[in-house]
Amino acid sequence: MLKRSRQFIQAYRQAPWRRQMQMIGYVAAALVAVGLVSALYLNITGRAATAGRLVLRSQRQIADVEQRIEDLKTQLAFISSTEVMQQRAAELGFRPVSPHAITYLPVPEYQGRPDGVQLAPRAGSRFGGAVRLPDTYTESLFDWFSSLFADLGGF
């Protein structure tokens, strides 16, 4: 065994390029490793950035939709306003009734129309506070590795 080791060292001493090739190999391996990590990091960062943009765009869309709901409610109120409804009723041949032209029928146990109205919650008022994004969208690669190893029982 000792003899074989001496032969190997002797061979290196006779051909220095082998040593250089070994060094180049180490550097190349390190570069490949760095490249792989960088590629992985870029990939994750890019996806997180895309998701972030999506979140921002969704926020704008939510705001737009809520604004549109408000607008449509008001537009609906315009086309069902008293003046418009009275005009439409008149066009359909309806006219105001006098109290003496009404026949009231007692209906047992009928309590009449409920007093007041129960309004539905407004758009955007359903949540009490902010919705938190999952950590996946904001954590660094190191954070991700840490949590991964923590999940696996390491660290």
Binding site: S80, P96, P106, G112
Partner: protein, 590 residues
């Protein structure tokens, strides 16, 4: 490698090493040096954008859920100055003057000012309606309409930007305008409910920081919108009352008209209006419609001498003290003198043998003055007047409520003659709302209910209903019942024009001369009012009517009483109140 050249390689390596070290040293000094904190602050500042979120203003509904005040999308039209090329400013000014109605020269001036100041964006017009923006977006018929922020599809107008936002809108236009008030472009409520509930409706704007780094993007916090209000107003009753009032304003030639309809059981105001009214979507015309002396809502914001409707207070005090009853006899001589003044009846006649019922039926000033002076007395009279809520606000939840004007015996400017004139509603001033609140005591077993306009508040997805509040009991339950019977009999015996077939009603007219600036009263200028309620056996409404300076007649019995009858005739239909006979028969059958 030749040994004599090796120094070059060492030199190069040294230079690179030095540069590298310099870079590291600089990085280190930036991180730890004196300016490190400032740089950190700067990076922090530029990593986020400050955004102020204005919550949408709360909506206002009538009691049945009809929207009275909502929010509509409008646009801010601006120009992105770096995108301007060549004659674009003139093209923009031309387009905006033609489509949006902006002033051509003003637009050019704004653009020029922005360029001189080195600005990036300048607002050219705001609160532009969507219809006008759509015209701009389809400006060039050969191209598809513009979308998003872009305001026009024409290449010459490429720098125009349209940003949508919400603005107050009133679908019913001038309906209930005196109640609602309006919101100006600073999002501040003026008059009525909009002013009274400004803080609640407007919500709380919040400043938030949004990260510029998409990796740090977070969901925005939900900013709760302003609270919505459900009013006690019934849209149909409100529209009806306004129609009737407008009709009679035209017929009578009066200067102004005011009406209130209230549910006496709980103080809920079902309708309230006064003239003039304002199309709230064009609130800019306010100054043209309302001069400086004209209140926005006369029902709470104007005081006047009520005249004979105030006699109900005098008689109620006398009844409550046990000094008189409806059957108490009184000999009317047509003249009564006290405190240095002499008063006469409305027709200057002596009415001879009367009862208190007759005094009220014929509205005799002499009788009432005598009762106030000789039966009630000044101390008790003003005690009752104050207990009925006169001289202080009712507490109705409306902006700009007036107090009225009342001199008391403790005041240095009070004279015994004041008691005489006050007994029949002259020489003091009240608001219509005070009169309505005081009369509610006759209906609620002597307890006065505070009028209110907001029925419920809707906030954070929950609806909170407001319960009725009472303002004391100035008279006993027995006196209250006696007053109702007295005023119902009085109307019937008088064959008043306020009567409505099939329904027993109680009420009182009031004709008051209007004081002139020189301290006298003009006999030809009157305030005519009527206050009544019904059905007498189960009151569901109080109706108050006031016509100022009518031309066709100076008497409330001829001008105001018919308005009351017209309102009640339609009100019983809208409130589903069957005629007394049917209602009492149904009740008897149960």
């Amino acid at each position: 490698m030749p040994r004599e050249h090796s120094w070059r390689y060492f030199f190069s390596a040294a230079v690179f090493a030095l540069v590298g070290m310099l870079i590291f040293w600089r990085a280190y000094s930036l991180q730890t040096g004196a300016q490190a904190e400032a740089f950190l602050d700067q990076s922090e500042f530029f990593s986020r954008l400050r955004k102020t979120i204005y919550p949408p203003r709360g909506e206002i509904y009538d009691r049945n859920g009809n929207l009275l005040a909502g929010n509509r999308t409008v646009y801010e039209v601006g120009v992105h100055l770096p995108s301007l090329r060549g004659d674009a400013p003139k093209a923009i000014a031309l387009a905006l003057s033609g489509m949006v109605g902006a002033d051509y020269n003003r637009v050019l001036d704004l653009i020029e000012y922005g360029q001189q100041q080195g600005l990036v964006y300048v607002v050219l017009s705001n609160y532009v309606l969507p219809e006008k923006v759509n015209l701009l977006r389809s400006y060039n018929a050969d191209l598809p309409p513009a979308e998003g922020l872009s305001c026009s599809n024409d290449p010459a107008l490429i720098a125009l930007e349209c940003r949508a936002h919400l603005a107050r809108s009133y679908p019913e236009r001038d309906l209930a305008s005196n109640i609602l008030g309006f919101v100006n472009h600073d999002n501040f409520g003026n008059f009525g409910v909009e002013q009274q509930y400004q803080d609640l409706l407007a919500g709380v704007p919040e400043n938030i920081w949004t990260p510029t780094d998409p990796n740090q993007a977070q969901a925005l916090p939900t900013i709760p919108g302003g609270a919505s209000l459900v009013l006690t107003i019934d849209r149909e009753i409100q529209a009806m009352v306004e129609d009737v009032l407008d009709e009679h304003l035209l017929i009578s030639g009066a200067d102004s008209a005011t009406a209130i309809v209230m549910d006496p059981r709980n103080g809920e105001i079902l309708a309230m209006t006064s003239t003039p009214r304002l199309d709230l979507n064009n609130y800019q015309t306010y100054t043209e419609i309302f001069d400086s002396n004209r209140p926005f809502n006369r029902a709470v914001g104007e005081v006047y001498e009520p005249g004979s409707i105030f006699k109900v207070i005098t008689i109620a005090a006398a009844f409550d003290m046990g000094k008189v009853t409806p059957e108490t006899e009184y000999t009317d001589l047509g003249v009564f003198s006290h405190g240095g003044i002499t008063v006469r009846n409305w027709n200057n006649a002596a009415w001879g043998e009367q009862t208190i019922l007759g005094c009220m039926q014929h509205s005799l000033n002499v009788c009432l003055a005598d009762v106030a002076v000789n039966d009630v007395g000044p101390e008790k009279f003003y005690e009752y007047v104050q207990a009925f809520g006169f001289g202080r606000p009712t507490g109705v939840d409306m902006a700009n409520e007036q107090y009225g004007w009342l001199r008391l015996p403790s005041h240095s400017n009070w004279y015994p003659a004041d008691l005489v004139t006050n007994s029949f509603g002259q020489g003091l001033s009240i608001t219509p709302m005070q009169m309505v609140m005081s009369v509610s005591a006759f209906i609620n077993e002597g307890k006065m209910v505070i009028p209110h306009i907001v029925k419920a508040v809707v906030q954070d997805g929950s609806q909170y209903s407001l319960s009725p509040q009472y303002a004391g009991a100035p008279i006993s339950a027995e006196t209250a019942r006696t007053m109702t019977q007295l005023l119902a009999d009085s109307l019937e015996f008088e064959s008043s024009r306020a009567l409505v077939t099939g329904y027993r009603l109680a009420g009182k007219t009031g004709t008051a001369q209007i004081p002139t600036p020189n301290g006298t009263y003009d006999p030809n200028q009157t305030n005519t009012s009527f206050i009544g309620w019904g059905p007498v056996d189960d009151p569901r409404f109080i109706v108050f009517v006031w016509l100022e300076r009518p031309e066709t007649s100076i008497w409330a019995s001829e001008v105001a009483a018919p308005v009351f009858a017209d309102i009640v005739e339609r009100l019983v239909v809208l409130m589903n109140i069957p005629p007394d006979a049917q209602r009492l028969a149904a009740r008897g059958a149960e």
